[in-house]
């Protein structure tokens, strides 16, 4: 490994050493605010370094990690999302009797490191490493409020299911290695691409098992069962973290390496992925209709959105990858806003997760309700929001490869989706009086979270109105 490769790794090192630093500071001086500031500065430094070292890209830093614009873009997303979650968590934990909230930020830094490694991995080893750093940190994060039974329940559920899926993932890797004799993702793709013969059963089994692991992490049907429970059980800012950071890293790998078009001799892979996409869109949107809990609605809607994103993996053409990157960006921003609103409105006694908590919110807190409406409209794909351009982009990618069936399902299922987004919006604009006193109390809004939300909303508006610069940038990555 030469010097430039080392320099290209600087953002990862900052994040890794920063985590250690935070870990060391906590036992010496336990102070919530200090930990948050320290974590934010680590994230900010790592984010800044992304721009400083771009001149050295792309680099293959050891066989494990490929550092290029693509990986850095996702790392930037992950870092920014983590920073937003830190701000939200600070206010959220501040309002509760949590004795030691400091380690939360340590876990978040580690998880974002894992996710960033995932986005840059080019080898089975780094893939698994990144995945495990991410997942194990998430166990701690989900059940951090250990006095609350729902957090513990969610944590156990996630622990069991995630370890099973990791096992599948690992077994799949072993099978693929047994068949192809390499663990380098780039080489595997090349071999599969140029393969003249039929794909062997061992290889197909391996790919299918890895698909299980991927499907679990991205919460795609039929590996989605954990999603609603974990989303509901975890504290609102942590849910935002699971929905964005953990999915973002995994999606980056999938977008880069796991494309069925790379395996021309195994059409079954294409069909199963298409089936998963279709079922995810339909089931996610359909099940969300049945919910009365905003967190669960968003959980099912995220299943549907990942289904939309799969279209960009199935359809292979000049715009599919950029469509995927654009959409996941919009999706992450929107999800952060939505869960940010929930965590702002949550009080010590109760999470603002029932639909009734939002009754007439607009007339009491026009700004909060306005931002939430904007985020929901973005999820629904209405103009002026990033979600609109993103959905258009995905549909364009699908039509480009003439995936008519999938695109039709996307159009119809997202119309089902409108129902529940509109349901939340209608609730916020309704005239009825709120019956849940806890939420009614006019607590002052926490400035840190509001700052994060305002910034995210502006970003989403920017993506929805003048996206040319961003799209140009994304084009340069793929």
């Amino acid at each position: 490994m030469n010097t430039s490769a080392l320099i290209a790794l600087v953002p990862y090192m900052i994040l890794a050493f920063g985590s250690v630093l935070v870990m060391l500071v906590i036992p010496f001086y336990r102070c919530h605010r200090l930990t948050v500031i320290l974590s934010l500065s680590v994230l900010f430094a790592a984010f800044l370094s992304l721009f400083l070292v771009t001149g050295y890209l792309p680099q293959q830093a050891t066989e494990l990690i490929r550092v290029d614009g693509f990986a850095f873009y996702f790392m930037g997303l992950i870092l920014a999302a983590t920073a937003s979650v830190c701000l939200l968590t600070y206010n959220y934990m501040d309002g509760r009797d949590v004795k030691y909230p400091e380690e939360l930020y340590l876990l978040m830094l580690l998880a974002s490191l894992g996710s960033s490694v995932l986005a840059a991995s080019s080898h089975f080893a780094s893939l698994l490493l990144g995945l495990e750093i991410l997942t194990i940190s998430l166990y701690g994060l989900i059940s951090y409020l250990r006095k609350e039974i729902r957090c513990l329940e969610a944590g156990i559920k996630y622990l069991i299911l995630a370890s099973v899926s990791s096992a599948f993932f690992l077994f799949g890797m072993a099978l693929i290695y047994a068949d192809l004799g390499t663990m380098n993702l780039g080489e595997i793709t090349t071999i599969l691409n140029g393969g003249k013969t039929e794909a062997s059963v061992i290889l197909l089994t391996g790919l299918a098992m890895m698909l299980v692991g991927v499907g679990f992490k991205l919460a795609l049907v039929p590996f989605h069962l954990w999603t609603p429970d974990v989303y509901q059980g975890a504290a609102a800012p942590i849910t935002a973290f699971i929905a964005t950071v953990s999915k973002g890293g995994m999606f980056a790998v999938v977008l880069r390496y796991f494309r069925p078009a790379d395996v021309p001799n195994a059409p079954i892979l294409y069909f199963s992925l298409a089936l998963i996409a279709i079922v995810s869109m339909l089931a996610g949107n359909w099940l969300a209709l049945m919910q009365n809990n905003v967190k669960r609605i968003l959980a099912f809607s995220s299943i549907a959105h990942l289904g939309y994103l799969l279209v960009t993996i199935i359809a292979v053409n000049s715009i599919a990858a950029s469509a995927g990157i654009f959409y996941i960006t919009a999706y992450m921003i929107t999800t952060l806003i939505a869960f940010g609103i929930i965590s702002i409105l949550s009080t010590k006694e109760t999470e603002a997760e029932e639909l009734d908590d939002y009754l007439g919110l607009y007339w009491r807190r026009p700004w909060i309700a306005g931002i939430f409406t904007f985020a929901l409209l973005s999820l629904a794909g209405i103009p002026l929001t990033g979600g609109f351009i993103g959905k258009f982009y995905i549909v364009a990618a699908g039509v480009r490869s003439a995936e008519w069936l999938i695109v039709l399902v996307l159009a119809l299922s997202s119309s089902i989706g409108l129902f529940y987004y509109l349901r939340i919006i209608v609730t916020m604009f309704s005239n009825a009086e709120n019956t849940r006193p806890a939420i009614q109390a006019n607590i002052p809004l926490p400035w840190a979270s509001c700052f994060a939300l305002a910034l995210l909303t502006l970003l989403l508006l920017w993506m929805g109105t003048v996206p040319a610069r961003l799209i140009e940038w994304i084009y340069s990555l793929v």
Binding site: A261, Y270, A315, V316, N317, I319, W363, L377, I382, P383, L384, F388, I389, F392, Y393, V395, A396, V399, R400, S401, A402, W404, V407, L408, A411, L412, S414, S415, L418, F419, L422, V426, F429, N431, V466, P467, A468, I471, E472, Y475
Partner: protein
């Protein structure tokens, strides 16, 4: 630039009225009103340009404005105005002013937010009429939905939530199908010419085999037919029109329905000339069915607004008939019908609103004998009802007459059926008049007659209905260049086939897979 201002003024003044309403709710109304008046004057100033400068006659766009928006995908912010869009924009802004005026007393809650939505839906509609980039068109098409949804859902009548949902889902599903159609045309054009663009002027020259064109056209046709509405997919309309507040009904009936007709004229006919020709017999049949079916149901209603809503279905049947008759008379009649229906139906909805304000009911069975209580109101309503049933001398007569002449040359049967529709129109219109203003005043209504503000509203409407009924030539002259262009479209329907070409080439993406 003036075209951009037309939209920007509406968007910004919408935000402004939401802000100023914090101090005084009345401010929001004045902001909205003055913005709309300024916008209308701007639009009329464009009007002046056409008549002064005959050179623009050759070039059918009176004014164009464009700037790159998302160049990577060939998307431009491209606005253009021709005779058709100009008349539609003026109609939009005129009815927009009326919508603000009718809400003056009716809307008492959340006034700032109301005017924000009102102005934004108008901005979306103006955008739809001006957009010359298909992506931009879709953008505005979707943009007008949300504010309209709020107008129905927040300020509507009893059953508003249901109506708002229904409206939104119908339009959204059909809009997404249109998006698929747009993208299909975009990629085919890009594939054949190497130029990936959403520019309208380029896309109308897209070469497609007839099978592809047939299916892509359906995406567009469904979206426009839902808005129009054409008969089997009209069911959202009675609910939305009935439950919306008066201003919402005015915008829905007067303007949103017109975007469907406009879309058919602007996009479906030029982009898919042959497929549209092949569709024409079916579309015209549906139009005729709509005329009769709408009239029949209008006759059966006991709710004032619901009755007027069904007359919309009937009147817009004429529009569908006229568009697909595809000759000069029919086109002229269609444009006239769009304007006349916009004025007369809005007028009836406004009367329904005025009556509802005073009687708090829309039930025809409870009304009756109001003429003696409010004779001026009765007289005014009489004019509107006469316009709606197509009395000579009023705008609707000109429109329906022209359409019937055009349709007669294509199909005598359909023309005959449509004339029966006119008889039905007389029946339901007179029944409306009879139920509300004549007969015994069983509930002993004592209501105030029209006030000054209401006189301004109805006065303007009556004036335009009469002027356009007696002298429609200025409108016809304005839209003539657009109609000429429609008449030049190639029609090769003899060789049309709905069957897929051999070999089957549905894979327009070139099959990278």
């Amino acid at each position: 630039m003036i075209l951009l201002f037309l939209i920007l003024i509406l968007l910004l003044s919408g935000l402004l009225s939401a802000v100023v309403s914090r101090w005084n709710a009345q401010n929001a109304r004045w902001t909205a009103l003055s913005a709309l008046v300024i916008d209308l004057l701007l639009a009329i100033s464009i009007c002046g340009r056409t008549w002064i400068d005959p050179a623009t006659e050759n070039n059918s766009w009176i004014a164009v404005w464009k700037t790159p928006w998302i160049p990577q995908l060939g998307i431009e912010f491209h606005l253009g105005i021709d005779g058709l869009s100009l008349t539609m924009v003026i109609l939009t802004l005129f009815l927009g002013i009326l919508a603000v005026l009718v809400s003056w007393k009716e809307i008492t809650e959340r006034i700032g937010f109301f005017h924000l939505n009102l102005l934004w839906v108008l901005a979306g509609i103006v955008g739809v009429f001006l957009a010359l980039d298909l992506f931009l068109f879709y953008f505005f098409w979707e943009l007008m939905l949300v504010p309209m949804y709020f107008l129905i859902g927040v300020w509507g009548h009893e059953n508003r939530i249901y109506a708002a949902y229904k409206f939104f889902i119908f339009t959204q599903v059909s809009g997404l199908l249109m998006l698929l159609g747009i993208l299909g045309v975009y990629f085919i054009h890009g594939q054949t010419t190497g130029d990936y663009t959403f520019n309208y002027n380029d896309l109308i020259h897209t070469d497609m085999d007839s099978w592809t064109a047939w299916w892509l056209m359906w995406g567009f046709v469904l979206a426009f037919a839902v808005k129009l509405p054409a008969v089997p997919i009209h069911t959202w309309l009675p609910d939305a029109h009935t439950e919306a507040p008066t201003a919402g009904s005015v915008i829905l009936a007067g303007l949103l329905l017109k975007t469907g007709a406009y879309g058919l004229l602007r996009f479906v006919l030029p982009i898919f000339p042959n497929a549209a020709e092949a569709l024409a017999p079916y579309a015209m049949t549906l139009g005729a069915i709509g005329i009769l079916y709408g009239a029949k149901l209008a006759f059966a209603q006991t709710d004032f607004k619901r009755l007027v809503a069904y007359t919309s279905v009937s009147h817009m049947g004429f529009v569908l008939l006229g568009i697909f008759a595809m000759n000069e008379w029919a086109y002229q009649g269609t444009v006239m019908q769009m304007i006349a229906h916009g004025l007369s139906t809005s007028a009836l909805f406004i009367m329904a609103g005025i009556l509802h304000e005073r009687t708090h009911t829309r039930d025809l069975d409870r009304m009756g004998g109001l003429w003696s209580a409010a004779p001026r109101m009765g007289g005014v309503t009489m004019v509107f009802v006469m316009a709606s049933l197509g009395l000579p001398g009023l705008a609707n007569f000109v429109a329906e007459f022209l359409i019937l002449i055009g349709v007669y040359q294509v199909s005598m049967v359909l023309a005959g059926l449509s004339v029966i529709g006119l008889v039905f129109a007389t029946v339901y219109s007179l029944r409306l008049m009879q139920k509300v203003f004549l007969g015994p005043n069983t509930e002993n209504w004592r209501i105030d007659d029209l006030c000054m503000r209401e006189w301004i509203i109805v006065g303007a409407l009556i004036l335009f209905l009469i002027v356009l009924g007696l002298y429609p030539q200025p409108v016809l002259d304005t839209v003539q260049p657009t109609i000429d262009r429609l008449l030049l479209l190639p029609n090769e329907v003899e060789h049309y086939s709905y069957l897929p070409p051999q070999p089957l080439s549905s894979d327009i993406g070139g099959g990278i897979r």
